[in-house]
């Protein structure tokens, strides 16, 4: 018995689905952002697992890609949380069901 690529892919798939559920079903905007971060992390885990187990000329390219994903995720989190704070200041709620000013 040993640990193979499939084990990591299954953990990544479960984590991605939990993140997807959070992003779609949470009423709180910050909960939605947590789901998005979790999906980023699931994808990163899959990248690293492939880089470790799959044949490739330069397996560490996946690590570089993960570094970029983490950079973009950090930028996205900072901007989106600033937006959440601003929406709360102007509308006194961050419930995504109630932020419907543009809804026809």
């Amino acid at each position: 018995m040993s640990i193979h690529l499939e084990h990591y892919l299954i953990v990544g798939a479960i984590l991605f689905s939990i993140g997807l559920y959070l992003a779609l079903a949470k009423r709180n905007f910050i909960g939605v952002l947590m789901g998005i971060e979790m999906m980023f992390n699931a994808v990163n885990l899959t990248f690293i697992a492939f880089s470790r187990f799959v044949k490739s000329d330069q397996p560490l390219s996946a690590h570089v890609f993960v570094v970029f994903v983490i950079t973009v995720a950090a930028a996205e989190a900072a901007t989106a949380l600033a937006l959440a704070v601003m929406v709360y200041r102007t509308r006194d709620t961050i419930n995504v069901d109630q932020i419907d000013l543009l809804k026809w």
Binding site: N28, P59, Y88
Partner: protein
């Protein structure tokens, strides 16, 4: 990947990751949800170590646990009443069905496919190779990422800054 230690570590870390992720969904207080999120990030950092990705594991701890979780905590304490509530919206059941379908498809593909596996040993260390790749092959994306970070930082400061008071 065959030693008993790695197998035990994998199952413990995978259980920690998935368990914390589930706790983010079920707890009712957003502060507790952030604690669950930190548990997920820490478990993933451990999984990276089992995959001999030392640089990424440290980056995960520094950026995700050290910075992004704290950012989430700040956003929660800056939005007082509204953010205590971690309820689901009316899309709960469609979202659950969709998430289960996605999980099913991904796991089916992972198990059904035959991957082009290599049997290379663990990477001895990754940081120096990653540094070389970043400054040689991927130097343009690296520079673009720095501009992106600058734009994000300036943008967030502009967004949350209080309205300047008129002085006259």
């Amino acid at each position: 990947m065959d030693s008993t230690g790695v197998i035990i570590a994998f199952y413990v870390l995978a259980a920690m990751t998935i368990g914390s992720a589930v706790s983010v969904v079920v707890v009712r207080n957003m502060i507790h949800a952030v604690m669950g999120l930190i548990g997920t990030f820490a478990g993933l950092a451990g999984l990276y170590v089992t995959l001999s990705a030392d640089f990424i594991a440290i980056t995960q701890i520094l950026i995700y646990i050290g910075a992004i979780s704290i950012l989430f905590l700040f956003a929660i304490v800056l939005t007082p009443q509204a953010s205590r509530n971690n309820q689901e919206s009316f899309l709960r059941f469609p979202a659950l069905v969709l998430a289960l379908l996605v999980a099913g498809v991904l796991i089916f593909v992972a198990l059904d496919n035959t991957w082009n596996l290599s049997h290379a040993p663990d990477f001895p260390e990754t940081a120096s190779t990653i540094g070389e790749l970043l400054l040689k092959t991927y130097v343009l994306p690296f520079e673009i990422a720095s501009v992106l970070l600058l734009v994000a930082v300036v943008g967030s400061i502009v967004l949350v800054r209080p309205e300047p008071v008129e002085e006259d």
